[in-house]
Structure formats: C-alpha cells, structure tokens
C-alpha cells in the first residue's frame, strides 16, 4: 500500500430538507438536513427499513428528493443531475459487477465511458489493481472471484475514476464474518489514505464505530443523532440510540433533593428530578463487595475470554447485564454486590 496513485479533492456534501415519499405513499424519509465535511467518513446507521439506503440514493442521484429538497456537492447544486453526471463512486451490497466483463474491464469501464484511450486506461487500471493487491486477478471472470474479491473489484472500479464522493451501501453485509473484518480494515485504511469524502451505510454498529468519523443514527425515516462514535456511544440521544449502539441496561429511578434512588439505594445526583429512566452500560457497572449499593443474584454467566458477561437479578426485581473481568469466575446463583458511579448514568425522561 505504499503507492498512492490517488489523492482526492475533499468535496463537502450538503442535504437541505431532503424527504422521500415513494409512489404508493410510503414515506421513507422525513425531511433531513445534513452537512458532511470534505474528506469525512460518515456512516448512516440504523435498523433495516429506517431510510439509510434511500438517503444514500438521494445523494447518489438514483432517487429524487421530494420537491423542496436539494443536494449540494461543495457549492454546486446537483439536485437536478442524474447519477451519471454527478461523478460519484458507488459500491453496492450485491457488488453490481458486470458479468460480461473480466476484472480489468470492470475496473476500466468508467475510464472507457470517459473516453480515455486504451493505453492510459490500462495503466490506470494496473495502478489501481496494484494498490488493491489484485494484479493477479486482472483477467479473471467475475464468477471466478470470491465475495471479498468481488467487493474489492467493486471498490477499485468506483475509485479509479476519481469520484467526488464515495458511497457504500452495506458493502460487507453479504460477506461472512471473517472476511468482513479483513475487508473492513482495508476499507478503513483506504478511506484514510485517499482522503475522499465517503458515506457508508450499515446496520452493524461495530462497523459504524470502526469506520466513522461521524455516525448518523437513523430510525423510522428520521435522523435521531449525529455525532462521533464516542458521542453516540457515551452520550446517546435517547434510549433507542443507546440500545442500538451497544448494550444498555434501563433502570427505573426517582430523583429528588440531590439524591437518586436506583436499585433500592440512594446515590448523589445532580441531574433532573422526578421519576426517571436511567441507562447504564454493562462495563460501567462494577462488582464491589465493600461499597456496592445493591445485592444481586447471578442468573447467567457467559465467559467471553477478555471478560465475563453476567446477567444478574437485583432485590428490586430488575435485570442487569454486567461485564466482569475475564479472570473472575462465577456460578449461577452466586450473590454479588454491584456499584454504579452516578456520573456513568444517563438519565432519560420517562
């Protein structure tokens, strides 16, 4: 990966009030506004059907936003341009490689469309394949490639024409877990190296956390939170985000007079008052035989190597997931004392 035939102009992207209603009345997307900085990698994250692909396709030019919406690449309004005039690179979950062409012809297709002569085309395709370490595959037919190889060809094909932005729709979803991790690392390295503005759609929070500069969490056709992976993980905007990004425990609590009553005990509290739901991550619940606020019974213990995931039931009848160190061992029915730092609690209005 030492050669660097491509370094991209970082082009910002802006969506203004883009909504989408499909013929037949399906409202796939509520009006959204979004600013993506040049060179940034933004991940659209959300459950299936929440409108991620629709948003991506509006940016690509494969769908028109409802009247009133507009799409800008830099200062250029591209709303009226069809995809073939937007100069975007696109990578599909199903690869969309042309079965009638070999690997090199697939990669060279965009250059051929641009009227670049045979010699320069071959040179650039060669460079691109070298960068992706795929020279040996140049003359292979598409049906002779593995899923991972196909997706790398698709990436090469999208990048070789130096698109203004790169759009990826669940590029790893069709691959098995092992390949997925490898290719995710490769995509990450590539995006950082090239400095291209990239928008990546996935329903997999692990992928989103690993790749994103910023994550756009979507639900039901709406953006529910935009933030860095750390923001989204540590300061989720609502219980949906907290639950979708990682695991959380949701506890009933009551706050008054600087105290929070939770799990049958009181902790100091500076936040909102009244009846609350509080969220806490499994890794933020400590096991502490001395200062623990509440007693609980282990109902499940799952050894995961680096840690042990416990599910415990408290005296108040609430169930919590807890991460304990991997070396500590537990049996079902053990009694533990748990402690929660108030500053690790996230209060949500009921």
């Amino acid at each position: 990966m030492s050669r660097d035939p491509l370094r991209f102009e970082p082009v910002p992207v802006r969506l203004n009030a883009c909504a989408k209603t499909f013929p037949g009345g399906t409202r796939a997307l509520e009006p959204i506004d979004l600013e993506i900085a040049g060179g940034e990698t933004v991940v659209f994250l959300g459950p299936s059907g929440c409108g991620k692909t629709t948003t991506l396709r509006i940016i690509a030019g494969l769908e028109q936003p409802d009247p009133g919406g507009s799409v800008f690449f830099g200062s250029e309004d591209v709303t009226a341009l069809p995809i073939e005039r937007r100069n975007v690179g696109m990578v599909f979950q199903s690869y969309a490689l042309f079965p009638n062409m070999d690997v090199a012809q697939n990669v060279g297709y965009g250059l051929r469309v641009r009227g670049i002569d045979r010699r320069r085309r071959d040179a650039r395709v060669g460079e691109m394949l070298a960068m992706m370490q795929m020279e040996a595959l140049a003359r292979r037919r598409i049906d002779q490639l593995s899923g991972g190889q196909r997706q790398r060809v698709a990436l090469a094909r999208a990048l070789v024409v130096r698109p203004r932005i790169l759009l990826l729709d669940e590029p790893l979803t069709a691959l098995d877990a092992k390949l997925r991790d490898g290719l995710r690392l490769e995509i990450d390295r590539l995006l950082r190296q090239l400095g291209i503005t990239a928008i990546y759609v996935t329903h997999d929070q692990g992928e989103a956390m690993a790749l994103a500069d910023r994550i756009v969490v979507m639900s039901g056709g709406r953006v529910v939170q935009i933030g860095t992976p750390r923001d989204v993980y540590f300061r989720p905007a609502d219980p949906f985000v907290a639950d979708f990004v990682g695991t959380t425990n949701r506890l009933q609590a009551q706050a008054a007079d600087g105290r929070l009553h939770v799990l049958g005990a009181d902790v100091p509290w500076a936040g909102a008052t009244g009846p609350l739901a509080v969220l806490v991550r499994p890794e933020d619940v400590r096991l502490d035989a001395v200062t623990g606020q509440a007693e609980a019974k282990v109902t499940t213990a799952m050894f995961l190597g680096d840690r042990t995931r416990l599910v415990v039931e408290t005296g108040t009848g609430e169930t919590l997931s807890i991460d304990a160190p991997g070396r500590a061992s537990f049996a079902i029915g053990d009694t533990v004392r748990i402690a929660i730092d108030p500053d690790r609690l996230l209060a949500m209005p009921l």
């Binding site: 690509a60 494969l62 069809p82 995809i83 073939e84 005039r85 100069n87 975007v88 690179g89 696109m90 599909f92 199903s94 969309a96 490689l97 042309f98 079965p99 009638n100 297709y109 965009g110 469309v113 641009r114 037919r141 598409i142 049906d143 698709a154 094909r157 999208a158 024409v161 759009l167």
Partner: protein, 268 residues
C-alpha cells in the same frame, strides 16, 4: 444408479423401455421413410429401384424461389423481432406494473389464437391495400405477429435472471448514459436470451404454414406452402425431396437451439 446386468431390471423397466422405443419409432419412422422417399428412384417400387438426387435437383429447379423467399422472410422477421422484441422485453423487465403485465398477456395472443384467425384478421384489416396485400411484406407481418412473443419471452427470461437494475445503476454511477448502458451492459448480458430467441424465431418462421397459407399469393409462396402444393399435385418423391431440403435447413438451427439452451444460462 444404472445397473449393467439385465437380470437386475424388473418388468417395469422393460415395459418403460419398450414404450419409449415405440414412441420414438412412431415419431421417427415416418420422417425417415419420408426422407428416404426423397432419394428413391421410384417410391412405389421401393428402395430396390435405386437411389437418386434427381428429385432434389427437380425441387431446387422448380421451387428455389420458395426456399429463397422463406429465408428472406425468416431473416426479415428476425430483424423485426429483434428491433421490436428486445426493447419490449427490456421495458417489461425494468418496469413491472399492471400495465406491462397486461401488455405481456396481450402479446401472447397470437400464440393462443389459431394462425388462421390471425391471418383472417390481417386480411380483413389490410386486404384492401392491394400493393401491400400482394407483397411478401404481408407474410412478414403475419410472421412477426406470431414469433414476437417467443422473442420477448426468451429475452425477458434472461433479463429477469440477471439483476439488470443494479447493473445499470452501477454503470450509471460510472458515468454511462442510457444508450451506453443499453449497448454495453443490457445487451451483452441478455445475449443468451437474444440468441435462443433468434433461433426460435427463424425456425418458427421457416416452418410456419397456418398463417402463411392464407396470406400467400401465387407469387409469394414460402417453403411450407410450396411443400403443400407439391404434396397435393406432384409425385410423392418430389414432396419428399422437398421435405429433405427443409430438414437440412432446419435441423442445424434446432441443434444450435438445443446447444444454446444448455450453455446459454445467464452468467451468475
């Protein structure tokens, strides 16, 4: 699965084998006899009278114009069904709504309706246009009506099997406009369907009799019409020689069709 020793086979096996052979005999024997008759000196005397190419030569002398017209109609029919059928299949493949489905059903009408009825409808509609009625183009129109559904179906089957929509979106994202996508992505990936559709159209057109018999004029006879004439009015050897020539024209097409059906699976 198959066992070599005959003793292992039950009665059912021999019955099935016998039945299959019988059916083959029933189908093949008349054709073989007919072909043989075409090169027999005197059919009434039998094969002892000697073999000859005389009848074939006579057919070629007397009926070569029908053979040429058949080829001409078949090729023109192929061109027309390609130009009409491939775009129609494309639209049907890309836009699946009630309108296109209705159209697809309508398109198969000429297969379901007897050829004679289609021919009558054509004559009623265009019979008054004398110049057109007398030209070979009249026959061509009938053939196109009859064969177009086969072309459309065959192309549509392949187009539906490859995910054309996504392939086109991929091509469009790389800057390809509609025309370029159609010629570099859609057509090449539909080629197996186009080829098998083409062979089917040519074969059907060369052999078409029902429609053609009503549509032809004494000056526009195709091979099957000529065949009917010769059976009705000439020596049986000449009719048989005629059949032989027909076979020689059509069998390679049929074999090619079979081969394509086997190899022409759309690429994954």
């Amino acid at each position: 699965m198959t066992t070599v020793t005959g003793a292992r086979h039950g009665v059912a096996f021999w019955l099935q084998l016998g039945f299959t052979l019988l059916v083959c005999m029933l189908l093949v024997a008349p054709m073989l006899l007919s072909l043989l008759a075409g090169v027999t000196e005197n059919y009434l005397v039998g094969i002892e009278s000697g073999l000859t190419t005389r009848w074939i030569a006579e057919v070629l002398r007397g009926y070569s114009d029908t053979i040429l017209l058949s080829l001409q109609v078949a090729l023109a029919c192929l061109a027309a069904t390609l130009v009409l059928g491939v775009p129609v299949a494309y639209v049907l493949a890309r836009r699946g709504n009630w309108l296109t489905r209705l159209f697809e059903e309508l398109l198969t009408m000429p297969i379901a309706v007897p050829g004679l009825a289609t021919a009558l409808a054509l004559i009623i509609t265009y019979g008054g246009v004398g110049e057109f009625r007398r030209s070979w183009l009249f026959i061509l129109v009938g053939h196109v009506l009859f064969t177009l559904p086969f072309m459309v179906r065959s192309v549509l089957a392949v187009m539906s099997a490859v995910d054309l929509r996504t392939l086109e979106e991929g091509a469009a994202s790389l800057g390809a406009g509609f025309a370029r996508r159609f010629f570099t992505i859609v057509l090449p990936n539909s080629l197996p369907g186009i080829l098998s559709g083409s062979l089917m159209v040519v074969t059907l057109s060369i052999g078409e009799f029902n429609l053609t018999w009503l549509l032809h004029t004494p000056l526009t006879k195709t091979l099957p019409v000529g065949l009917a004439d010769s059976y009705a009015s000439l020596r049986i050897e000449i009719g048989s020689a005629y059949t032989l020539i027909f076979f020689v024209m059509v069998i390679p097409l049929l074999l090619l069709l079979q081969a394509l059906a086997r190899f022409g699976q759309p690429p994954r």
